[in-house]
């Protein structure tokens, strides 16, 4: 067993519970002892882009401090938004002067830097490997056609991308290793509208309609994402007439394929085999 520090974030304990349950079950089967970091706090959701806004890095850096306190050198995130804030703040405090100023807020503790932030997708690609993942598959996906949806934060800004920001393949490769079929999905790197869902609902509905039609045109049965905000928007901001594709988390697909209990994937597969096509 390999230990792995894990930062859940708010969504994984609430609306994205199925993602956490599924991923943790799958990681246990892949030989990881996942250790949730103690006293974690909000990652901040949105990375601060203003140069003078140091205060907003305190939250994410405090989480890195907790990882350091566990004696771990890296931390796993499942949520794309958490990956964004944690990985970018980790890089932000590589500058000693910035780190000194952030540490002033963390006193008497001090973050020493150097914690690596890993997203589930890169862990599966770089450490587990597609072949070993495929060898662990216990249950067929029965040709489930999957639109792998990246959205923004996994790929942009370029310096933090989990894969080639102009042509990512990691999520498709994972889906295929699990026995699913990754369909062409040209809009897979486009923004869903994110938090505009609170302030400008109509804008998000326009985005979501376009994304779902693109996924459906590629022949998808389901959309798979690692972002709880994308998941919310794709299900809750679907405009009238857009294809009603189920939007699942990658963790749910993983869990099902590796033999853990995952009713949502089962229902999607049953839907297909009984000839029910969405939209």
């Amino acid at each position: 067993m390999k230990t792995l520090a894990y930062f859940p974030g708010c969504a994984l304990k609430d609306q994205a519970r199925a993602d956490e349950n599924g991923t943790l079950a799958a990681l246990a089967r892949l030989g990881y002892e996942v250790r949730e970091i103690p006293r974690w706090n909000c990652c901040g959701t949105v990375y601060s882009l203003a140069q003078d806004d140091l205060m907003r890095h305190v939250g994410p850096v405090r989480n890195l401090l907790r990882v350091q306190g566990m004696g771990e050198g890296r931390v796993l995130t499942l949520c794309a938004m958490c990956y964004g804030t944690l990985s970018r703040s980790a890089r932000f405090v590589e500058d000693p002067e910035r780190l000194r100023r952030i540490n002033a807020f963390l006193a008497p503790d001090a973050y020493n830097g150097g914690v690596e932030v890993v997203h589930l997708l890169t862990l599966l690609r770089d450490e587990v490997g597609y072949e070993r993942l495929a060898a662990q598959v216990k249950r067929e996906l029965n040709g489930l056609k999957v639109a792998a949806y990246y959205g923004c934060v996994l790929l942009r800004p370029r310096e933090y991308a989990v894969d080639d920001p102009d042509g990512p393949t990691v999520m498709e490769r994972v889906v295929e290793a699990l026995g699913g079929g990754a369909v062409p999905f040209p809009e897979r790197m486009e923004c869903c509208g994110a938090y505009l869902t609170v302030t400008q609902k109509g804008v998000v509905e326009g985005r979501v309609g376009r994304l779902l039609r693109s996924a459906r045109a590629g022949g998808a049965d389901v959309v798979v994402t690692t972002c709880p905000l994308c998941q919310f928007n794709l299900e809750e901001r679907r405009p009238a007439g857009a294809p009603a594709l189920p939007v699942l988390y990658l963790g749910q697909l993983l869990a099902w394929a590796l033999g853990a209990d995952e009713p949502a994937v089962g229902a999607a597969i049953t839907g297909i085999s009984s000839g029910v096509r969405h939209g």
């Binding site: 974030g9 708010c10 969504a11 609430d14 609306q15 909000c42 901040g44 959701t45 949105v46 601060s48 882009l49 203003a50 140069q51 003078d52 806004d53 907003r56 949520c79 938004m81 923004c152 790929l155 942009r156 800004p157 370029r158 920001p165 102009d166 790197m189 486009e190 923004c191 509208g193 994110a194 938090y195 505009l196 869902t197 609170v198 302030t199 400008q200 609902k201 804008v203 326009g206 985005r207 709880p228 905000l229 919310f232």
Partner: protein
């Protein structure tokens, strides 16, 4: 956007442009107005000025940039930044404009959530609306 344009040395050295540069960490004068950011912006349809036009106003030191809706429609998806041939991360320029506007008391319409939202949506939205 069509209005009379008066260029002057004073405008180009405008404190406003410098302040936006300072807050964003992005050099507005690197932009040569190719429009690639606006072509790829998923939200351009809803903006009162296209991303390259916003940057143009900043270059000209025109504080009208602070009253636009465009920075508030921007979702910081960074599609512009990864495509910019000059490496300008315009999402950062938009953030600088939001921050400057908020600090000067220019605020968009107050938000009244119409339903329960996941934390991730609410926190994302309020972070954008606080200076």
């Amino acid at each position: 956007m069509a209005s009379e344009l008066r260029l002057s040395r004073a405008k180009l050295a405008a404190p406003f442009a410098r302040r936006v540069e300072e807050l964003s960490g992005e050099n507005p004068y690197a932009c040569y107005q190719c429009g690639k950011c606006s072509a790829g912006c998923p939200f351009a349809d809803h903006m009162d000025a296209l991303p390259n036009q916003v940057l143009r106003l900043v270059q000209l030191g025109d504080e009208a940039a602070l009253s636009l809706s465009a920075p508030w429609v921007c979702a910081s998806c960074h599609a512009c930044g990864v495509r910019c041939p000059k490496g300008v991360d315009i999402a950062r320029t938009m953030e600088a404009l939001r921050v400057l506007a908020l600090r000067r008391g220019i605020t968009p319409t107050p938000v009244r959530p119409d339903r329960p939202y996941p934390q991730i949506a609410l926190i994302g939205a309020y972070r954008k609306l606080t200076p």
